[in-house]
Structure formats: C-alpha cells, structure tokens
C-alpha cells in the first residue's frame, strides 16, 4: 500500500529521462560516465524485481506500522511544518543507522550487497535495489517513528523523498557541488566514496540526505583526488546473473552456517568477511593492512593484521 502522494512513483519518469540524458551526454563527450550493457541490464532488472519483491512483504510492513501507530505516544499533525522538519531529521537519522547496520553486519549486508555489486557508478546503479530487504526486517527500524506518533503515510512519503534524493547522487558526471552543500548534504562525491572498495574508503559515508550524520558518528571520508574510487565489492561477482546478484551472499552465509554450526552467530551477525579462524578479511582488517602498507598507525578499534589466508 502506497500513500496517495508517492514520491518514488512520481519520480520514475525522471529516473528514466536522467539515465537517457547521462548516456547521451557521455556519448557526446559532454560528461563522464561508463555504461556496460549487461551491467545496466542487471541493475535495472534488480530495480524491477525489487518492486515485485517489495509487494510480498508490504502487507506485513504496513500492518506492523499501523499497529504501532495505534499505540502511539503522541498525536503529530501531518499538516504542521515542524512535524515535517522533525520527521525529515529523524527519518534521515534512522536511514543512517539502517544503512550502517546493512554494511557492518552480515545478515543485513546479505540483503544490501546487491546494491554495491556493480563495478560501475552511474544512475542505473541507483536502481540496483534489494530483493530481500523486506525479509531482512530492517523496516522495523522505522517503527519507532510511528510509535512517536508520525502518521504512517507521512513516514512513507519521507522515505520516498529520501529514496528519490539518493538517485541523483549515483553519478560521476557531477564532480563537486558548492562547498556549503558538500558540508551539509550527501553528494555524488560523498556517495562515490561509499561505493568504492578501496580499503581507505570501505564502510564510510552511510548518509541518506544529510552527510552530517557521518561527521557526527565518525564515519565520514572525503573523496581524495589522489585516490580514484574503484567501485564494486571487495570480492566482485564473476557475472551478471540477477539471481546470483540477489542471493549470493545469503547462499554463502547459509553455507558457512551449515559448515560451522558452532559459529553460526558469528557468520550471521559478525561483520562481512568475519570467519571463526580469521582466515578472511573484514573491512577493518583490510583497512589495517592498507594502513600498515602506508606506514600509518592502525586505528585503536581495528584488529591487528593477521596472516594472509591462502
């Protein structure tokens, strides 16, 4: 069930036109982007499938949100400007923690990894959306907003606005925006860092609309001219099969749990790359290895470099 005013539905023609424009302007050498047909196909198929998959869990999500709203603490009017300002901030904060959880714990990474699985960074990448987000249950993180008293339709609209905002930042065509904008908002530059797999860029810039959350919680990394972003995931996919894109991490996780049942919790809820024998690399160990190679000091919370697995 969608609200009468659904920003995402309204924005779909804009999404299509923007991708057409990015491709044509690149073809005319006016701007910079790379599109590979199979990769584009995979991204768009994931976007299409995400809408269908969302229908399967929409009933549960809507019912849970309405039930929570029925037990709300306050009555927040949908017509008040202050309510929209408050929701904008709280929803964006919720998104930050949802996104951070989706990167730092494997169970939720399994649902989110597909969005990062392209080695390209263009507007079609923005549409490479999850098929399993509903099953992963991260929608629960938005229920406190309904408990506070924000009407479900209002929450849905704000989530849609956030999703639409995040579309345009998936591009290499925009180098930098004005300094004041870069300081406050998530931008193409900040989000390129988020999609990069260079060790120094891993697990950074989780923001939805406001980049200030990353600055506040210590996960901000600026894009450096001396280090171009390499896009994709630490272990890239060897093809464009959308079923593999959608489910590979779930299958790998299930395999790890089946092989090592005593370490099931670690394989499910540890950071991506965690293993019981430390034979794999997490973002933290990759960054520590990179820092060691740079002659820098590892950050205190990072694990010491372990022996490379073979």
């Amino acid at each position: 069930m969608k609200p009468a005013f659904d920003p995402v539905t309204l924005a779909i023609p804009f999404f299509i036109l923007a991708i057409i424009l990015e491709i044509i302007l690149t073809r005319l050498k006016v701007t910079r982007a790379h599109y590979e047909a199979k990769d584009t196909m995979a991204s768009l198929a994931m976007g299409l499938g995400s809408n269908v998959a969302g229908l399967l869990t929409a009933g549960v999500v809507v019912a849970a949100t309405i039930w929570t709203y029925q037990h709300r603490l306050f009555d927040i009017p949908m017509t008040a400007i202050w309510a929209w300002v408050a929701l904008f901030l709280l929803e964006d904060l919720t998104y930050y923690w949802f996104h951070r959880l989706s990167h730092e714990r494997r169970f939720w990474w399994a649902a989110h990894v597909n969005h990062h699985s392209s080695q390209h960074y263009n507007l079609s990448t923005a549409l490479r959306q999850t098929w399993t987000g509903g099953l992963a249950g991260t929608w629960i993180l938005w229920l406190p907003l309904a408990l506070l008293g924000f009407p479900p339709a209002m929450i849905a609209i704000q989530k849609g606005i956030s999703l639409v905002y995040q579309f345009w930042i998936h591009t290499e065509a925009v180098r930098r925006t004005p300094r004041w904008f870069e300081a406050v908002f998530n931008t193409p530059s900040h989000h390129r860092v988020h999609h990069a797999r260079n060790p120094r860029y891993l697990d950074r810039n989780y923001a939805g609309i406001l980049i200030v959350w990353d600055k506040l919680f210590g996960t901000f990394q600026t894009e450096l001219d001396e280090e171009a972003c390499r896009y994709g995931i630490v272990k890239n996919l060897s093809g464009f099969n959308v079923l593999r894109v959608a489910f590979h991490e779930w299958i790998a996780m299930a395999g790890d749990v089946a092989r090592h049942p005593r370490h099931a919790l670690g394989y499910m809820f540890g950071p991506p790359g965690w293993s019981h024998d430390a034979s794999r690399d997490t973002s933290a160990t990759l960054r520590a290895q990179w820092e060691a190679g740079q002659g820098g000091e590892p950050e205190p919370h990072q694990a010491p470099r372990k022996a490379a697995s073979a």
Binding site: T40, L48, H248, A310
Partner: protein, 135 residues
C-alpha cells in the same frame, strides 16, 4: 494480478529494454585492452595490496592472469568491462584441469564459482623466484 499492475510491469519492461539498448548503442563501457604483465601486476596490486608476486602468467587472449604469491595463486579474470580477482591455494591451482588451452580454476565461491584462463600450457614446468612486487 490487477490489470494496472500488469500494465505498469509491461511498461517497466519496455523502459528497461530501451535503456539497455541505449547503453549498448552508446558504446561507453570502460575501454578494455588486453592485459600485459605490467597491467596485470598493477591490477593485482590493487586487489591484493602488499602481496609479492613471484611469477605471473597472462592469458594468451589478455583476458586474465594467474600469479604465484607464496602458497597462494592470485587469479584475475575479465568480466564485462572490469575484472574479478580471487586467491586460491597454489597447490589447487597447479592441479586444475587444463584442456584445449584453457585452465579451469575452481574458486569455491558462490559469487565467482570458477575462472577460465587461456594459457599456452599448464601447469608450469617450474616456478623460478622472480619476485615481482606489484607496481
């Protein structure tokens, strides 16, 4: 299935076909040139920072490379206009099947089950230490 949904889905399919066709027509994928030793070493350095490459075999078609690094084999394979890299035990690499000029490597990974690299021969008769630090 509601009619409105079916129409929306069909329209979405048409839009996807249009965009994919446009992307193919535009020919704006990353430029791919066949790998040579230097480029393969650079890519391996990006993928496996700090690892020393003792010897490298670049595919005859330039679409992949295989390197020995201690007890590991570093595998680099072209996919689309990018590359996928993995490391596997060296012993496993040299025992991989070689048929019709292609070595097929089991990468034991759902995300990249195997790699196929065209080489003149495999396994190598010897692996003299060459100590190539990835550039």
């Amino acid at each position: 299935m509601p009619e409105g949904f079916a129409v929306q889905f069909a329209a979405s399919f048409a839009a996807v076909a249009l965009l994919v066709g446009l992307a193919a027509w535009a020919k704006i994928a990353k430029p791919m040139t066949p790998l040579n030793d230097a480029r393969a070493l650079k890519l391996l350095a990006d993928e496996f920072p700090g690892r020393t490459v003792e010897q490298i075999w670049v595919a005859v078609d330039g679409r992949g490379a295989l390197a020995k690094s201690g007890a590991a084999a570093l595998v680099l394979c072209e996919v689309g206009d990018g590359y996928v890299a993995r490391h596997i035990p060296w012993a496993q690499a040299i025992s991989s099947s070689f048929r019709d000029g292609v070595v097929k490597l089991d990468l034991s990974d759902v995300a990249a089950p195997n790699a196929r690299i065209a080489l003149q021969s495999w396994p190598p008769s010897s692996t003299p230490p060459q100590d190539k630090r990835a550039a």
